[in-house]
Amino acid sequence: MSDTSIHIGHGLPTKPFPKMDPEVEPYWAGAREGKVVLPYCADCSDYFWYPRGFCPRCGGTSIEWRDSAGTGTLFSYSVPRRSFGLWKDHAPFIVAWVTLDEGITLATNLMDVDLDSVEIGMRVRPVFEQDDPEDAPVLRYVPA
């Protein structure tokens, strides 16, 4: 397989600046300190994703923002072989769905890995990427 020679690096784009919803500021405050902070619904006693100022399961607003190790396992992935816009020169990269140990799955990128060693179920840990201090810290993953 030609994949054996492909190493996926880091340094993916962190622009454009995302829309900032003041209701989810605790998530971004954590991210700025390099911490994964997850929304937890005190009414359903469970985490949810993506961060919102209310629970999409029960509509409740008793949201706790809980520190997380951010670690998890690779749920699925794909490897776009071409891209465009800001990402044009970054293909191939990995689009990854990661299931956190808290039981929620998020879409992210897996980096710093040889393509032929990527497999569903592998352990991964979070890193925050920020090309530029003006950018928002973007949650991405590397092998644990």
């Binding site: 919803d21 994703w49 072989r81 891209s83 816009g85 879409a107 569903i120």
Partner: protein, 393 residues
């Protein structure tokens, strides 16, 4: 007639697919006009008979106002609803529901698209994305086309059920087998499993030949009250059932083992009063090979996880008494106007029920057909819609 169901409430009496695949110099309005006039002529009706109009959210102007003004169409019921490729399958149900409620009697549904003209090869609709994009790799705008999202689902299916890239390739091979008999098909010629596997990876595990074509074009349908259908004497398709559904990231509790096709089809079957056992022809949106594989399972033609086995060895053709799928060559070969699949799916189903499909692929005595469409991204968030149709003559 009861109005709590649309089973039998409406009949598709006109169906028209734009014959061209490249339309340089055309405006979207001209494509709409040509397919609408084509469908009305097919039905034996005129623009003055139309009292309802349905299209997607890409039509230029204020809602449907500019297009109905351009056409000289006087409508009392109209929608520009956006469900991506599922839009036109949904519109069949929405039109039938409006007819069942007495809101209108002659509805037109139309699609027009010119992606080749704009040079747009990404199939990514330009929209202002919602809040989730702040958390998805800093927004997927510009990062990758829809293909990688479908590929995430394909990868998981392979992991969970042992589905292989070769099995996905068979879906393209079957489409090419059907397209051989369609002189209008954008892509022509035989395709082998090896051809698909050896084509460049676009987003692992999907190859270039796992993807649909990009074409200009469009299509339109005319859906009428049964009294109008009776007066026309044209063959068509009775709407027996319709169902639609959404599926998204479900608060983070991801489950890629099914798509919105499942609840959509269950609702459509329930309304029709029968299930897949009666279906003799099947139109399934084929944006990518994996889209078809999931629909085969979710519409109940193969058990969960066994879609790969089902599609192998020309499983989607009439071979061995199977229910043929996409006998026009589908989006994988024939056309994919405006990067949207649902319209051509309904049109080929109507052809089959009328006995007007290409003779080599016509299902003998085709009485029941289903058409299913899917819109946007199959892993992360999408719409699906299914209609169940019966021959009308």
């Amino acid at each position: 007639m009861s109005t709590d169901t649309l089973n039998g409430a409406a009949v598709i009496v006109g169906a028209y697919e734009h014959p061209e695949r490249r339309l340089p110099g055309y405006s979207l309005f001209r494509v709409h006009r040509e397919v609408i006039m084509g469908a009305l002529a097919d039905a034996g009706l005129g623009i003055e008979d139309v009292d309802a109009f349905f299209t997607d959210g890409t039509v230029p102007g204020y809602g449907t106002l500019d297009i109905t003004e351009y056409l000289g169409m006087k409508v009392k019921y109209t929608e520009d609803s956006e469900f991506g490729g599922a839009t036109y399958v949904s519109a069949v149900g929405h039109a039938a529901a409006a007819i069942a409620q007495g809101k209108c009697k002659v509805a037109v549904v139309s699609l027009a698209g010119l992606p080749l003209q704009s040079g747009d090869k990404t199939a990514a609709l330009v929209v202002d994305y919602g809040p989730v994009t702040s958390f998805e790799t800093n927004g997927f705008v510009g990062a990758y086309g829809p293909v990688a999202d479908y590929a995430v689902l394909a990868k998981r299916h392979m992991h969970d059920y042992g589905t292989t890239p070769e099995q996905l390739a068979w879906i393209k091979v079957a489409a090419a087998e059907h397209a051989k008999h369609n002189p209008r098909s954008f892509l022509k010629g035989e395709v082998t499993v090896e051809d698909v596997i050896n084509s460049p990876l676009v987003a692992d595990p999907l190859h270039r030949l796992d993807c649909c074509v990009v074409t200009d074009g469009g299509g339109a349908l005319v859906i009428v009250h049964p009294d109008v259908a009776k007066s026309l004497g044209r063959k068509g398709a009775i709407v027996r059932g319709h169902g639609e559904a959404i599926k998204d990231t479900m608060g983070g509790k991801a489950d890629l083992s099914y798509t919105a096709n499942k609840p959509a089809a269950d609702r459509a079957y329930a309304e029709a009063g029968f299930g897949p056992e009666k279906i003799q022809y099947l139109s399934l949106y084929d944006s990518f090979t994996i889209t078809v594989l999931m629909a085969i399972e979710d519409l109940g033609f193969a058990k969960k996880g066994e879609g790969g086995k089902y599609v192998e060895d020309f499983g989607l053709t009439a071979k061995g008494g199977r229910v043929p799928v996409n006998t026009d060559g589908g989006g994988l070969m024939n056309n994919h106007p405006g990067n949207r699949g649902g319209m051509t799916k309904v049109i080929e189903a109507v052809r089959q029920l009328r006995g007007e499909a290409t003779p080599e692929v016509q299902v003998k005595d085709c009485e029941f057909a289903a058409a299913a469409g899917t819109g946007f991204r199959l892993a992360s968030r999408h719409f699906s819609s299914t209609v169940i149709l019966e021959q009308y003559s």
